[in-house]
Symmetry: C2
Subunit: 410 residues, 2 copies
């Protein structure tokens, strides 16, 4: 409420639930005080079958949720010794002293189901509200308290909550969801290509969603009913026929992970020469565990001197064509590949802005080169975006150029 923390819980939980066939209808954030928390819980009990509450289960004085919810539901709290033991060994393993306030985290409302926290101290707690005085028809609500830290929340939800939710709230018809990740095509051009050929399946109940990000469009395919999986499978086949290698992956996969996976599989190596992306491509590649097997070297060569000195770009080429040019991109990529002795080298040189543009090469102009054993390819792109979006877009374009090259039959 003070604007110091970004709420990532909502997106994460909504996506997990949505991919399992459940729809979140309401997300509410309230101030960290008793009346606000209880009022929010009462409202939710009045409208929802499943209520997820995150945060406020820790040991400090502002962690009030456990007691407030227990009080609201009229349940007494009792100490659970096994939880206390688990928390004690958690601190012992980390050679840290047990804080005196720990006991509160081992208090369990009567009848609550305890969800073990394998990555922290406070367990999750699930409580049935039945009969439910807050709902007109008295229908039961299931209320689950979950820890706030994402690295505790995520595994607890995936391993313990979601399987149970699936058992408890059986969908009235089969549900099948799949996400296809694409790069290199705009949202409207994808829509033009696949919209018309999918009308048949859409009339059969296929739900098709587009989510456009910078340099990436995700396609969400959903089927319901007895033919759910079949309909999605048929749609995927049609989309693959239309979009071909613009699809880089299925499900939770990043472009950089896919590139590292492909290079690792083929035992091929990469070097980078980045001007306008300033290290972002290297950063993305090295976010992937195992990147050290793949990335031999990265050069961030903002200045002309650095381009000449570390990549061997001839000074004459820079003077003749300018630092942002096809010729310089080519020389950077070939220089990086030769110096590092890698199978591939990607190079980018462009104008991120806000300053530095001209009529012939406005802010947003970039040349991307890919040097390989057999050839060097260069593309010119125009990405009139703010500085950080420009960098991200160019990194997508460069990684995709490499991905497409690796995909080609040798």
């Amino acid at each position: 409420m003070l604007g110091s923390t970004l709420n990532t819980h909502h997106q994460w939980l909504a996506r997990e639930l949505f991919q399992a066939g459940y729809l979140v209808t309401r997300q509410l954030t309230v101030a960290d005080d008793g009346p606000s928390i209880q009022e929010a819980a009462r409202e939710a009990l009045g409208r929802a079958d499943l209520i997820l509450i995150t945060g406020g289960l820790g040991p400090t004085s502002d962690d009030l949720t456990r007691e407030l919810i227990a009080a609201l539901l009229g349940k007494k709290l009792a100490l659970d010794e096994s939880i206390l033991d688990r928390i004690s060994s958690f601190y012992q393993d980390r050679q840290r002293a047990l804080p005196p306030s720990t006991r509160v985290q081992a208090m369990v409302p009567e009848g609550a189901r305890v969800l073990t926290n394998h990555y922290g101290t406070a367990p999750g707690l699930a409580m049935e509200c039945q009969p439910n005085p807050y709902r007109k028809d008295g229908r039961a609500s299931l209320l689950i308290l979950l820890p706030g830290p994402p690295r505790e929340l995520h595994p607890m939800f995936q391993e313990q909550v979601l399987p149970w939710v699936k058992q408890k709230f059986v969908l009235n018809q089969p549900f099948f969801a799949r996400i296809l990740r694409t790069t290199g095509l705009g949202e409207s051009s994808i829509e033009e290509k696949i919209g018309p050929v999918l009308t048949g399946l859409v009339s059969e109940g296929l739900e098709l969603g587009y989510c456009a990000r910078i340099g990436q469009v995700d396609l969400r395919l959903i089927g319901r009913g007895v033919r759910a999986q079949e309909v999605v499978g048929e749609a995927e086949a049609i989309i693959r026929r239309e979009l071909g290698d613009a699809i880089y992956g299925v499900g939770e996969v990043l472009l950089e992970s896919e590139v590292v996976r492909m290079l690792t599989e083929k035992r091929q190596t990469l070097s980078l020469a980045e001007s306008c992306t300033g290290g972002l491509i290297a950063h993305r590649i090295t976010n992937v565990p195992g990147a050290s097997q793949v990335l031999l070297a990265g050069f961030v060569t903002y200045s002309n001197t650095a381009k000449t000195q570390f990549l061997g770009v001839p000074d004459e080429i820079i003077r003749a064509h300018g630092a942002v040019s096809e010729a310089v991109a080519r020389a950077m990529a070939e220089g990086a590949r030769q110096h590092a002795g890698s199978d591939f080298a990607l190079a980018v040189t462009g104008i991120a802005g806000p300053a530095g543009g001209s009529a012939a090469k406005p802010v947003g102009t970039v040349f991307i080169a890919l040097a390989s054993r057999d050839e060097t390819r260069i593309v010119r792109q125009f990405n009139p975006l703010d500085r950080e979006s420009f960098k991200l877009m160019v990194s997508q374009q460069a990684l995709n150029m490499l991905r497409k090259k690796i995909l080609e039959p040798v």
Copy 2:
């Protein structure tokens, strides 16, 4: 609601309002349909003086908010020609055809105040709900519809909404807020240092908040009443005395911006030799406009060969001490500085994990070196975090090492 978009509006608006002395008490996200949107608005009208609604003002068929809210308040919509003209020229300037559905964005509910959109097409709309049938005491609510895209929302809020809110909702006492950004100290050690010496001011009404992130703790100081600004000023002086150069800036400032600013001011240059951070430091530096004046070169040298070849780290040193060692960090920094001819060079070598650790050098170990004209400093840090948090933490530690060096009297 499908989990495809992260809600950044709430944090941003809450922070802007909080820093002006206003508290957000409730944030609600609902599905994109008529009943949900109207119910949410009704609820808000029943409890709040100021209601901000973002998104749903665009030209497509799922942009329903304008009509739904007008209907809820019983206001008719009329076409505003001046808005239509503005939207037409917006498209003309960009050499794009005017979409046929544009007119809807020029529809204004009767009595609404129009907030011009200088960065997009849909204007904001402010409506007074008075008398307010949704509130028990009939008290008026001010309801403001704002565009969803952040680059339209942010300037509209700062330039048009906030000044007006300040006039309309005059605080019943003066309010003064200030954020001090620190790095290099943990939250609890900061609390130990400043907590005791601030008790006097806290009893005078100073509100003190801590917000811990990776490698950074922000301190929020708030004063209210006639002495608001004085109290905050006195607190800041005390905190500066206790924390000294752990404070790197005030307000909206990033560590990398501060470092680029300092280097630019002193006309000094930097080069980077990154192993375990894999380009993140270069990426952060180059996010700052004007970084090209400062960053001469960056090397991402994951492999031992690259360290030897591009930074001149002697092979014997790597064999004798291992790639993650004080000696290699020193040689990397000195090599980068010499090769690039920069005033400073930062080098990092460490174990990001998940693999690669040992008993003597567990995952999370890192050596950071700073080479300058007069000396080379090296620190060893231990950051047992996940891979991406580790990279971020190390980049903070490295940038801070440079910042402190620049701060020293020559």
